[in-house]
């Protein structure tokens, strides 16, 4: 985190990511309670607020909750008591919290409550690209979407005010290119003095019932008026545009650049000055500012809609144009439906970028003049999108060097091979999701939402009555265990299902940046909370369990094999700290390859260490034709030492080091 987020220095201009800006905006708005379950792209918001809690412990409480529903419930509690609260999650997390959210909108809230949701167009760090605006709309919330950090910061503050005005939560939709982008932002003043007194009066009632629906619809009408006047809906262009670009989120900036570029080329293409183009940033995504839009639609005969993931605004705009066709005349709306706004993967897929936006606008206003454009590219982790040349090998995602998961999946694979009954592995969500690919030996046969692996296992474990005889293994992470696995385990024991649940306990929420969870203990701000050991929970469920070290491959393999032979629900905890944390904590002895013992290229082991186990630390010394360890990558877990069939991989003991020093 950039420490400048917390500076008490109003007026100073700093570089903030969108996530930092949301945290800063909440601080400036006097937020008292913030709760989240970590998820990309929004995990860093609560991290910044947790740092603030250390500075202002009387004003702010932060927590990493066990899941998003509980996070939202806690934030609602603070709001009921009159405090300002923020809850943060990714789009998938909103699904988890959604049952509560639809109730909360009906019961109403008191203190300002803001729900920040991160959508990940192109799924850079997600399994899916979901558009949370639909859920927000279904819950009858007002939804705002910023384009950059400065706006995100101001928007959070205004969202707290709007929430108090409406008496219900306000949702902020954030996308990856806002959350993880950094732009200039000017710090505002931080509130001084004591936090408000939390209290719920006997007359304060927050109860979900059908009467609330009418109130919600009325509140939304109020939000429309706010949206019509909102400064967040920025407009660049003539008062009466001929062409209107409606841009949501960061595409506002892309549109601005694209129009400038088209203007520069307009003369060559015989397009006139292009002065009739107006660009409207639609920041109030729901409810839409109809009056504002109709003002521009009076003159604009062509409308281009730019938004990420689904055609949410576009659909609404089409309806608005249809409803007003008698006064508007013929208006054409270009967007995803017309095929103008499409990524390289197809219409409605993936995130927008400057080139896609340029193409969309050019195609709409000057279809004949559109010059051929270079291949589409966004900074993406996916090699297929990276404008790759055929001679360049792509780069799969891989477990870190020394990651305990690589060892765990190796042992699991070996045990299933020994067992020989075509056991199946059910995946879940975390770093270990990568086991769907080659780094985890393509282990998974299913992967869905958090906790679903264990639920699916519970179902498969009942299918023996239909002749299903394959062993079933659900693989879950430690944070996932607390988040959503426990109910499925209760179900499994209650219905006497048959499966093995392996908990890959690396003692952190690794995927999202190493946040604590109930099993690790310790609060968001480093407060000393004692852990809730998973062993106690599992014992309480009355399920048998074993704890093993995945780095001890023979024992781990034998343990998995033994568990596979047992009926009922079995639990195996494979416990070993995440490599990224372990290397910071302890200094392990250097691992190296003895070139005299390594069997080299053309031998029986067939490059076993790098080719089969595929830890990125095990590389090849092409000049000498032997294996070697990349010391800038190796995290010194020592697993490859036990796997090398020639015993060529060793740790450098102090003795070796002093020998070398003598020799040199």
């Amino acid at each position: 985190m950039n420490a400048e987020v917390l500076l008490d220095d109003a007026g100073r201009e700093v570089l903030l990511t969108g996530n930092e800006a949301v945290a800063r905006g909440a601080l400036e708005a006097g937020v008292n309670y913030a709760a989240s379950y970590p998820g990309s792209p929004t995990a860093e918001i609560l991290e910044a607020l947790a740092q603030a809690q250390k500075l202002y412990p009387d004003r702010l409480y932060t927590e990493w909750s066990v899941n998003e529903k509980v996070a939202m419930e806690g934030a609602a509690a603070a709001s009921f008591a009159g405090l300002r609260s923020l809850t943060i999650m990714k789009c998938d997390g909103l699904n988890v919290a959604f049952d509560f959210l639809t109730s909360l909108g009906l019961s109403g809230t008191r203190g300002g409550m803001v729900i920040a949701v991160g959508d990940d167009p192109s799924a850079h760090s997600s399994a899916k690209e979901e558009d949370s605006r639909y859920l927000g709309r279904l819950a009858h919330l007002a939804i705002w979407e910023p384009a950059d950090s400065q706006q995100a910061k101001e928007m959070v503050k205004a969202a707290f005010d709007l929430s108090e005005q409406m008496g219900q939560p306000v949702m902020l939709r954030l996308t990856t290119r806002v959350c993880h982008a950094a732009t200039n932002a000017t710090l505002g003043p931080l509130p001084k003095g004591p936090a408000p007194q939390a209290i719920i009066a006997p007359t304060d009632k927050f109860i979900t019932w059908i009467e609330g629906h009418k109130a919600q619809e009325e509140r939304l009408l109020g939000a429309v008026q706010v949206a019509n006047r909102s400064n967040f809906n920025r407009y660049l262009g003539p008062d009466q545009p001929e062409i209107l670009v409606v841009a949501c989120g960061p595409s506002f900036h892309y549109a601005h650049e694209a129009v400038e570029e088209l203007r520069a080329k307009a003369e060559d293409w015989g397009l006139g000055s292009l002065n009739g183009i107006g660009i409207l940033q639609l920041a109030t995504a729901w409810p839409l500012p109809e009056e504002l839009l109709l003002g521009y639609l009076k003159s604009a005969r062509q409308v281009i809609v730019l938004e990420e993931i689904e055609p949410f605004v576009e659909d609404y705009l089409l309806g608005l144009v249809a409803r007003n066709s008698s006064t508007l005349g013929q208006t054409v709306v270009y967007g995803k439906h017309s095929g103008h706004v499409a990524s390289s993967n197809g219409i409605g897929l993936g995130e927008l970028n400057p080139e896609l936006v340029y193409r969309a606008i050019a195609k709409a206003i000057a279809p004949g003049a559109l010059a051929p454009v270079a291949s589409t590219a966004t900074p993406s982790s996916k090699p297929s999108e990276a404008g790759e040349q055929p001679s360049f090998p792509g780069r799969d995602l891989a477990f870190c060097a020394g990651c305990p998961h690589r060892a765990s999946f190796w042992a699991l694979r070996s045990a299933l091979e020994l067992d020989g009954r075509r056991g199946i592995i059910l995946g879940d969500i975390g770093c270990y999701s990568l086991a769907k690919g080659r780094t985890g030996f393509n282990a998974f046969q299913t992967m869905h939402a958090m906790g679903s692996g264990a639920g699916i296992a519970s179902g498969l474990g009942q299918l023996w009555r239909f002749g299903f005889s394959q062993p079933v293994v659900a693989v879950v992470g430690d944070s996932t265990f607390y988040h959503a696995v426990v109910p499925a385990l209760i179900n499994g024991r209650y219905t006497q299902s048959n499966f093995l649940c392996i908990i890959l306990d690396n003692q952190t929420t690794a995927m999202t940046g190493h946040q604590p969870h109930p099993g690790t203990g310790g609060g968001a701000a480093g407060d000393p909370l004692p852990p809730v050991p998973m062993e106690q929970i599992i014992s309480g469920l009355g399920l048998p369990f074993t704890i093993l070290d995945p780095f001890d491959i023979p024992k781990a393999t034998a343990g998995i094999y033994a568990a596979l032979q047992q009926p009922g629900v079995q639990i195996l905890i494979l416990r070993q700290t995440c490599a990224l944390i372990a290397t910071k904590r302890e200094i392990r002895p250097e691992v190296y390859v003895d070139p005299d013992l390594c069997r080299g290229y053309n031998c029986s082991c067939f490059n076993f260490c790098s080719r089969v186990f595929a830890c990125p630390g095990n590389i090849w010394d092409d000049q000498r034709g032997v294996a070697s360890i990349d010391q800038s990558v190796c995290n010194r877990c020592g697993v490859c030492i036990s796997l090398c069939p020639a015993g060529a991989i060793k740790t450098r003991t102090e003795e070796d080091v002093s020998h070398e020093q003598l020799a040199s």
Partner: protein, 211 residues
């Protein structure tokens, strides 16, 4: 659009510290009164995938965080294969390039399904495609500074040393100070990173004199 806009792309592999390099450069620019928009890809891409950071730096104006194709003025290459990949999409004949020539092998290469391009060919391919290339042996320099993990800071120092951006070395060092030096226990880390920065800075200045 102002012609003084600088588009910079950092190319590397997950875990190499792109994000830190981009943060140092971006914060230095803002401290010098510039406007910045930058985008990093992180999340799962920390785990060994291709990682890119885009930085758009300008004395004034506001820009979106992504560099359009073929518009990079500078590429900071932390790994040769990734540099070649980024160059082919974002580079143009005027793009200047600062390169750490040490390879990091993709999974497909480790499992011997693909081979890593011949390093000499790869480097000459890179040289042929840009107006100016400076190679920095960041691994050796980082080891001298005390840890191979500091290669990204060496490269950031080297970028400062090229003079391609108008920010003084002192401005970068103040940012390093605020990142690594906020308390006593961190002072060793700060010294190490300042040293790594300095080594990179010197290397780039010498590379310029040699060419």
């Amino acid at each position: 659009m102002s012609s003084s806009l600088v588009n910079l792309v950092i190319a590397g592999v997950g875990g190499q510290g792109n994000v830190l390099a981009s943060q140092i450069i971006g914060r230095t620019a803002v401290a010098c009164g510039w406007k910045v928009a930058s985008a990093d890809t992180f999340g799962v891409s920390q785990r060994g995938g291709s990682v890119m950071s885009h930085l758009r730096l300008a004395p004034q104006g506001s820009y979106g965080p992504l560099v359009p194709p073929k518009r990079a003025h500078i590429i900071l290459g932390l790994e040769p294969l990734e540099t070649a990949r980024v160059l082919s999409t974002y580079g143009n004949p005027h793009t200047k390039l600062l390169l750490n020539p040490r390879p990091n092998f993709p999974l497909a290469v480790l499992i011997r399904e693909r081979s890593y391009p011949d390093l000499h060919q790869l480097l000459s391919h890179i040289r042929n495609q840009s107006s100016e290339v400076r190679e920095i042996q960041a691994a050796q320099l980082a080891e001298t500074a005390g840890t191979l993990l500091a290669q990204n800071v060496v490269m950031t120092g080297a970028l400062a040393g090229t003079g391609w951006l108008p920010f003084p070395a002192e401005a970068y060092k103040r940012v390093l100070n605020s990142i690594f030096g906020s308390d006593q226990s961190k002072s060793k880390k700060l010294d190490l990173n300042l040293y790594a920065f300095e080594l990179g800075y010197q290397a780039a200045t010498h590379a310029a004199q040699a060419s």
